[in-house]
């Protein structure tokens, strides 16, 4: 195995691994500061923050010969015998000078900058900068340039790392951003008439190491140090990008990509990134409601039912109605889906179980950098299909369920939704009009909920816990990030209680149970790593 020597410490790297000195040093616990390098972008080695001393150790004699000059760690491959020195005086002085140079023109307006608290310029200055300003005192300037619908540029804060420019050239392939002028007059700009407007645009804000690029959706909404973050999965499409939900006191402020080499690498799309606002929409359904006498007359008002009463009364109503059909939404987790099927079969052992409506728009869209936005706008079709298959190997679809109800094979139906946007039209909903009991569990009112005899609220993506299986069969387990609004029980809690299980809803216990009872989900038995597990690999093994 190739051995790299970092500050005197020997570490082994994989024989086929192609690491640069930043990555190799990180393995040895040494963090080399860097601005322009990003693992998802081409190497330009221009910021010069990562300069280190390097050398080679002769394999035969063990003699170390050092390069006379500093080299960029980002551009220098770590090979067998590579010696990296990250903390010599030469290196420290060089870092201090780069920090000093970057601050010559910088407005240093951290108190009013959104990036403060998570800014590399700030952090590196404290770690590597010098305490004294030697350059002339600069008059404060703050020019803001609108570069597109989602992003704004604070021109004077830019340190010219060109990450944003490379992103639009290499990953989104849209090339809107560019560098204008030369030398210290250089600025980031867009081409006239071609704003930064692409489906991945928000990523440039994450990439920006400083507060130059601001996300209009987040700008001035929250200081970053007030927020907590929870590892979540985006519910926007079947790609299932790994994200962090950043929130404070049950309010979400932004979503950020969470690095996952198996799924989204470092990126998420704008639809996902800004797709959390429905969570705080005032029109969301809250509280459980039941139409008096289960009347199918829509003018009969819904009566509020306490959650504690929902559990027994729902079961009684559905049992009394007769033949049951249930749609298990692909927005639900594997755990919720499995419990819902179990609840349904405990009410009606012959209950017709189907995968709920699978929303789609357009076609899958792959960008030059390889990132794909999926046409299937739900996170867990594969997971729900896997669960339904355990109960009915034919895995009925939503349209089969509609047909089943329309042709009079059901007396009652329980339709789960949790869709963030409108999903059902009047005609489809009309098929459910004559049922003796119609339970609709959703985020928002719809033509279907208008017909419901039981109307139950649903949880949003960040409000549930459990497991989703993405389009590539990767199962990712996540925790609840924020609590749902008062009056909302997440689906899992209701099903847990309807199954008569004690204590707080425990998704892990359910997950283990699902894993034990099925080959499809066998991989879910143990601890799930943050980047998820591939269900197929474990099935083969």
């Amino acid at each position: 195995m190739p051995t790299v020597i970092v500050d005197g410490k020997e570490i082994e790297i994989g024989a086929d691994e192609r690491l640069n000195c930043i990555e190799a040093a990180r393995r040895a616990g040494a963090e080399i500061p860097h601005y322009c390098w990003h693992p998802g972008l081409s190497v330009v080695a221009s910021c010069r923050m990562c300069l280190v001393e390097t050398g080679t150790r002769d394999a035969a004699t063990g003699k170390i010969s050092m390069m006379p000059k500093l080299v960029p760690a980002c551009q220098t491959p770590a090979k067998d015998g590579t010696v990296i020195v990250t903390e010599s005086q030469l290196v420290k002085d060089s870092r201090a000078r780069v920090e000093e140079a970057l601050l010559i023109d910088h407005p240093i307006d951290c108190p009013i900058c959104d990036k403060a608290g998570e800014c590399l310029l700030q952090d590196y200055h404290f770690q590597h900068g010098q305490s004294e300003r030697r350059a002339d005192l600069h008059a404060f300037t703050s020019r803001r340039r609108d570069v597109g619908p989602t992003v704004t540029l604070f021109v004077d804060r830019c340190i010219m790392c060109t990450r944003c420019v490379r992103f639009t050239r290499e990953v989104s392939g849209t090339s809107e951003l560019m560098v204008t002028s030369r030398g210290a007059k250089e600025e980031i700009d867009v081409f006239p008439g071609h704003p930064l407007d692409n489906k991945l645009s928000g990523n440039v804000v994450d990439l920006c190491p400083v507060g130059a690029l601001g996300d209009k959706d987040f700008l001035y909404q929250q200081r970053v140090w007030f927020m907590k973050r929870e590892a979540n999965v985006c519910g926007g499409c079947s790609a299932g990008c790994s994200i962090h939900t950043e929130h404070n006191q049950d309010t979400i402020y932004r979503l950020k990509p969470r690095e996952n080499p198996h799924v989204n690498t470092w990126w998420i799309c704008d639809e996902g990134r800004y797709g959390w606002h429905h969570i705080h929409d005032a029109a969301r359904l809250v509280g459980a409601g039941r139409r008096a006498n289960l009347s199918t007359d829509r003018s009969t008002p819904l009566e509020a039912v306490e959650w504690a009463d929902v559990v027994p009364r729902l079961r009684t109503d559905l049992k009394a109605a007769g033949r049951l059909a249930v749609a298990i939404s692909p927005m639900l987790t594997v755990e919720e889906a499995w419990m819902l099927c179990a609840v349904a079969r405990s009410i009606d052992p012959q209950a017709f179980l189907a995968v709920g409506h699978v929303p789609r728009t357009g076609d899958d869209e792959t960008f030059p950098g390889g990132f794909t936005i999926r046409a299937e706008k739900c996170p867990n079709r594969l997971g729900v299909e896997g669960v339904v298959a355990l109960f009915d190997p034919s895995v009925p679809s939503w349209s089969q369920l509609v047909e089943h109800v329309r042709s009079g094979h059901a007396d009652a139906a329980w339709i789960t939704g949790a869709y963030p946007a409108a999903w059902i039209d009047d005609d489809t909903a009309a098929a459910f009009a004559d049922l003796k009991c119609l339970v609709v569990q959703d985020l928002f009112d719809s033509p279907l909920s208008a017909l419901a005899t039981w109307r139950l609220p649903a949880a949003g993506f960040a409000e549930r816990a459990g497991t989703w299986v993405n389009v590539a069969h990767r199962a990712q387990t996540f925790e609840q990030a924020v609590r749902p609004p008062a009056g909302v029980w997440p689906e899992g809690r209701l099903y847990w209680n309807m199954l008569g299980r004690r204590g707080l809803y425990d998704p892990t216990a359910v997950r283990r149970q699902v894993a034990e009872s099925s080959a499809t989900f066998a991989a879910l038995a143990g601890e799930i790593p943050a980047t998820g597990v591939d269900l197929r690999i474990h099935q083969l093994a």
Binding site: V43, V44, A45, S46, C47, R48, M49, L51, K69, L70, V71, P72, Q75, S94, R97, V98, A101, L102, I104, D105, R133, R134, A135, D136, L137, H138, A139, I159, M160, V179, S181, R182, G183, A184, K185, E186
Partner: protein
Amino acid sequence: MQPFKPVLLEAVGVPDGQTIASYRSRGGYEPLEQVLKQKQPVDVVEMVKASGLRGRGGAGFSTGLKWTFLPKDHPGPIYLCINADESEPGTFNNRILMEDDPHQVIEGIILSAYATRASTAYIYLRYEYPQSWQRLQTAIDEAYAAGYLGKNIKGSSFSLDIYLHRGAAAYICGEETGLIESLEGKRAWPRIKPPFPAIEGLFRKPTVVNNIETMACVAQIARRGVDWFRSIGVPADPNNPRDPGSYGPKLYCLSGHVERPGCYETPLGITARQLIDEFGGGVWKGRKAKAVIPGGISMGLMTEAELDTPLDFAGPGKVGCLGLGTAAVVVIDETVSIVDFLHNSCRFFAHESCGQCTPCREGTSWSLRMLERIKAGKGRLRDLDLLAEIGNTMGMMPGSTICGLADGAAWPIKNAIKKFRGEFEDYIKQTNPQGWMVTDPVPALQIVGSH
């Protein structure tokens, strides 16, 4: 020294010397026809290697050796780029070659393309040379018509097209990878190396970049032979195995405060003093020289006492200059303030820095600001230390930048401060009697645009 009869400049002053007829009457294109008939490409590489020719574009890298870095048996295409961006202040020898004897350059290009197995050559010409542009294009057209360019040149299996590309006026387009980026239609941001152009250059194909004067030398080596070339100039130092010597004639561009500025051809190794006195008629108006730029402003400064330094590839380095550079010798007479000189130099590099690397982008601009402030009578002694620090830490040599522009910006700063510190100190103390000793940061001046 015996008088040297110009070779590279032989067409200067010849009526219609730029035409193909004139060039052929002087023996031109004959060597090319012989080479195509009798020699393999590798023979031409060996010939140029044996001649000891070093690139005339500034870095002085052995031309034959550079060609051998190309991958063997490459399926092609291989590109030859001819650097005619000539933007180093004080330099104008490429221009004279292109305007007065373009066929000499073109024959050199054809020979070099043959040697490197390139079938496409680009001449990257700086925008400010309209006359060169016209003369070169006319000459290229003539060469096509005479069968020296195009398919199956003179019945051989060798084909070559030359394209003349006009830049948009930026110094950085002369840096070889900046040139390549610019040719590809991009912003001329020099590339990181490796890969070197010989492995992956223009359009990601193996590429050689050579200077115009280097091409003229190749033509003359083919015509007059390796021995002739090696009989001129300064032989390799036998005590220094790493010195490849400085062979051949060289075009020195003499300008500034001399009686007779101009482009003079002499063997490599003439001293600055000889050049100024024997060719330039001495420093003008009977004055003395205060300082001399040895090879373009990037190379730094020699003092009057250092003028006996031979201007070969090794000479200027021995007195703390960066190197021979483009051999553009600029004389600065005793009446000139060295503060003005450095201000002008800093302004040039701040304007021309491509802006990629933090140390160059900010270092060139910071040094200009300090010089602006010093000139405005608000200098501090501390500024000299800061300037010296910038000069010592900015560039490829300390490892802090991607290309050599930063070294070229650093050298005048560090030479000027080191060699003329007293003058700077006097200037600062006299113009800023109240504040020269301040060490705290002072308010920045409004910078006047350098355009």
